[in-house]
Symmetry: C2
Subunit: 272 residues, 2 copies
Amino acid sequence: MNDRTAQPIGVFDSGIGGLTVVRSLLRHLPHENIVYFGDTARVPYGSKSPQVVREYTLQDTDVLLKHNVKMIVVACNTVSAVALDVVQKRAGAGTPVMGVILPGATAAVAATRNKRIGIIGTQGTIASRSYTNAIRELDPAVEVFGQACPLFVPLAEEGWTDHKATELIAREYLHPLVQQKVDTVVLACTHYPILSEVIQRIVPPAVRLIDSGEATGHAVAELLGRSGELNPSTLAPNLQFFVSDIPYKFTEVGERFLGARLGRVQRVGGLG
Amino acid sequence: MNDRTAQPIGVFDSGIGGLTVVRSLLRHLPHENIVYFGDTARVPYGSKSPQVVREYTLQDTDVLLKHNVKMIVVACNTVSAVALDVVQKRAGAGTPVMGVILPGATAAVAATRNKRIGIIGTQGTIASRSYTNAIRELDPAVEVFGQACPLFVPLAEEGWTDHKATELIAREYLHPLVQQKVDTVVLACTHYPILSEVIQRIVPPAVRLIDSGEATGHAVAELLGRSGELNPSTLAPNLQFFVSDIPYKFTEVGERFLGARLGRVQRVGGLG
């Protein structure tokens, strides 16, 4: 019998923002082994062209496939938006691939009452209209309003979560969505949950924020449950973190995103 | 006779910020042919480790060497700080290499009266202490205070040059330098001249801002004059722009930095 249950879940991201998705996985699936890869040598992806993001995605997928993963979670919204097919094709039929867009879109459609949903993300994610398409496929009656927020990633990495400047910037970005009277806003970038308090303060109190990464943790648990591939272990899982660079403030920023100690992180060379 | 005068000056940068250095070159040397390469597929370098920056630098240098350049200008402060030797070794003795740090440091030492100089730049540039070392070599009596300003690059790229949030952020970053009573501040990142108005508003009026890129244009003109390699042409120069990716808002941001129309930009593949 080929027991895949103990094989790790592979997660990759353009950098360390995807650790917010790992945090969600650990909450929903506390006994699953995880291999994480962050392409910190080439981060960010969100402002780069789809062509370049697709090239990098192929290499990121290969890093995870070497670790004999039982499935791949694409934590990066930009990759999920413009290159999910690249991952699926490379991984092959035996290795399921889950992006963050369908879970986020599904949660948003379930949450909205007035059928007006805002999406905030990188330029790549918003320009792709991937969330809009996914939402409209789930419910054609929903109106979707996208807004790129390029300064949110550096603000989250700097840890300026409660700064007056962050509030001013968020107010400017979110103004068009508030004007459109959305009742649901999707945090369509791994970094944005770090800023959810300031975002929630700016939008009207009834507006629901949907964390795509959180929704993805839930969706992964469901998928593995359905396919009978949940790890039956009750021990602490084996977590392995790989990156293409150890940049400045790596541990500080990484632990803020993961919400826990990172432990040992290994560098993967030869990518760029 | 081997006439090198018409060969282009090669300029490279981690992205398109180096176009502010090209702008300065065009002002000082309006008839020099220029080949520019921006590594927009892997930008930014300023938060990445010296090891990764040195790997990328080698490849960037090779892109320029293919164009038979008569000298190389390293527009990127981070590369000038942690990898100038990589460029020099690859280019060889026959191709002079000019970084932005020595020109910037020289201009700052000439400008200061109270011998207290502030340096603002990326995390990589500040952590390297390259400006401090260069300044102290020119004048050991000068005190140097470094301050990393990671949000300045995304603010400059977003074009938020006159926004209240930018002022708040700049005030926070510059506060320690103002407290140290520096009378000179070096803009040690290609993006920062875009924000010079707001920076000048925040520091006391007598504080002089030194633009390293501007100082570099002057230094390149002097170097080529001394070596007899100035282009005697009085025609409009041939400007060639190469990048490793055409990212979002490329032309808009690039033309803001260059201060002119960009014309045709060609993508160089196979780097990352």
